[in-house]
Point group: none
Chain length 202, copies 4
DNA sequence: AATGAATGAGTTTTCATTCAT
DNA sequence: CATGAATGAAAACTCATTCAT
């Protein structure tokens, strides 16, 4: 019996529990510290103690949200790389497309995950950062392999890798699903730009 | 009498009034809503009423900070473009270098300016966003002109322009002054990457 | 058919229903107001609604506990006096020994009963206080009778009676079953002290 | 220059700061956990944040109160013993009279100090208990010395010493300043009873 | 009796802000 | 400018209690 491969390109509407969905909305709009537990509860359609029945503290809500989001992204990326096979170029494209789509269809998730890292207390922060670094490592490997093997022309694989990441992340700051570009076009164009980054020479 | 041209490459240590410097530090670490006026006052070495002597409210401190930062960046960029002259390629390079340096030497300023936009009340937000858009417009023009005139090969000038911006902004998320790369090297490498973005074709 | 005489010297381990035993423990440690119904339930090995199945409210648990404790003490004292017969000296000794043993083996019961009187609402308090006064009255009579009849030398029977009571109560503040003195020794010593109180003259 | 000797017999009306006076009243009536900070503030004639301006937490109010009370009692007792000189009998009488007066004129202080020990968190409790033990130690020494030197007849100096203490403490449970006995009479009578305790033999 | 979900009213504490000195 | 005292409003969180299953 074979495990179902994850459909990493598919984004449905609500994949988050009600409370986390409310937290996502609120944290994106006003930030963690700018959001009150009352606001959270009423957005989730609960009373305040009702909310505390599900999560023991505001901080735990933030942790659950960020962990959910990061786990989803890591799993999608792993599936994309799996599908891509061993070639650095294919892996590069898969990684970029995966992160692009995530930042197109999970704009708020991505924003909150990066903007509220600082609001994590204790070692919660470290766990989330480790997941982020793991993700970045996947791209780094592909770029370094590709640069070493001649697939990519860049003389600065490390800087290029980071540049590609921020390129993908950046779309979340302006992409709107009702914009003029279709998702497929947008992915295509940014793949071109990203390949430009890892192939740029002096 | 001629106006002194602004030295847009030069970044001194403290160009901000004491209170705003404290606000910068605190807002970067805990966010606007996560920072109390008492914390602000004590970081600034003032008493609470002393702080209110300088600014009428917490919100006004945020506004003053973001305006200061944005005005500085706009002026530097204007100076850089002035110095670059009319050629799209030179203007592109100047803009990129200017934004890069800003995000290297004013990391916290940049981070707070973008992360706390949402904490601005009333029309304060609009004023700051307008400045940001004005800045982006300067690059858009250069890229569009360069694309139209054949200087840049990109078929997607708008997307490329945005990509270049996030490329510059992105360095602030990892650049450290004590890192292995000299500022000059880092600027150089990212200019290469940025040119890769506006020259990428299918 | 004759009623079984109560063995007023015998103290078994658990004579309280599970919930009251838990309440005793918790009220002794944190007080009535410092104890939550959740804590009570979990100490009793019940769910919260399970606890409410047994008692209609937190206040009712306190009432049931204090009534149980006071009823037990009154019955033991009555049995002791019964056994002692009519002589004031014997009645005095019986009363003292009975209250002493109670405060040695029911330390927590005694402490909670006096410390949480104030937490009783409505006329619950009056009922418990009446029982306490009834108890004190039994000793008062013995001392007054003994003083009048020359058995006790004290010129201040009322004050002496009260003094004897607090002497007995006082052992609960430091007696530990694993201490160096056997219960019998301790009873003996305090009987000596108590007799000292009712025989002291100027 | 000679230090003013403390008038350990003199009890004025209000020797406590306003907030602690309010806390005393409230803790005596409803206990620490049964008293809300709102109640405390309004009894003290302050707003809630006004109260927090003076004390950083509810717990700190309790600590300040108990420390104030215990320090006062320890100082009075030390002064009484000082005045009494070296004779065990005189020291015994002084100690007893001092503790008696304290429990007559500081009834609530004494009650709260013993009933709310359990509400002290961390090592606050230990500090207060140490003061209490220090006090008890002063009497223990006098009784042991007196028993060794033949001043007191008791064969159980330790138990007697404890008995005397609870005798003094006990008056606080029923003494009322408007009662039938004058303070001087009451002190006199209880000195007689206390001497009875340390002179009782089999 | 347990479980799980829920709640109005309360808790302690902190907030931004003010004002007299 | 600092100090110290003050406050209405709101923060996060907990309370005793209920009810459907």
């Amino acid at each position: 019996m074979v495990a179902e491969p994850l459909e990493w390109r598919k984004y449905d509407d609500a994949e988050l529990p009600r409370v986390l969905e409310a937290a996502l909305e609120a944290f994106a709009k006003h930030g963690y510290h700018g959001t009150s537990i009352r606001e959270l509860a009423s957005t989730a359609g609960l009373s305040v103690p009702g909310l505390y029945h599900h999560y023991p503290s505001k901080q735990d809500i933030l942790v659950a949200l960020l962990e959910d989001v990061m786990r989803d992204l890591v799993q999608r990326t792993a599936a994309a790389l799996e599908e891509a096979g061993p070639s650095p170029a294919a892996r590069f494209d898969a990684w970029v497309e995966c992160l692009l789509r995530f930042h197109m269809f999970r704009t708020k998730h991505a924003f909150v995950t990066s903007s509220e890292l600082r609001s994590l207390e204790g070692d919660n922060r470290d766990r989330i950062v480790a997941l982020r670094d793991e993700l970045q490592g996947m791209l780094d490997h592909a770029v370094e392999d590709g640069a070493a093997g001649g697939t990519f022309a860049t003389p600065y694989p490390k800087a290029a890798s980071r540049g590609v990441t921020v390129l993908c992340i950046g779309v979340s700051s302006w992409y709107r699903p009702d914009g003029p570009l279709s998702p497929e076009d947008l992915v295509h164009r940014h793949l071109v730009l990203a390949r430009g980054v890892v192939n740029a020479t002096e």
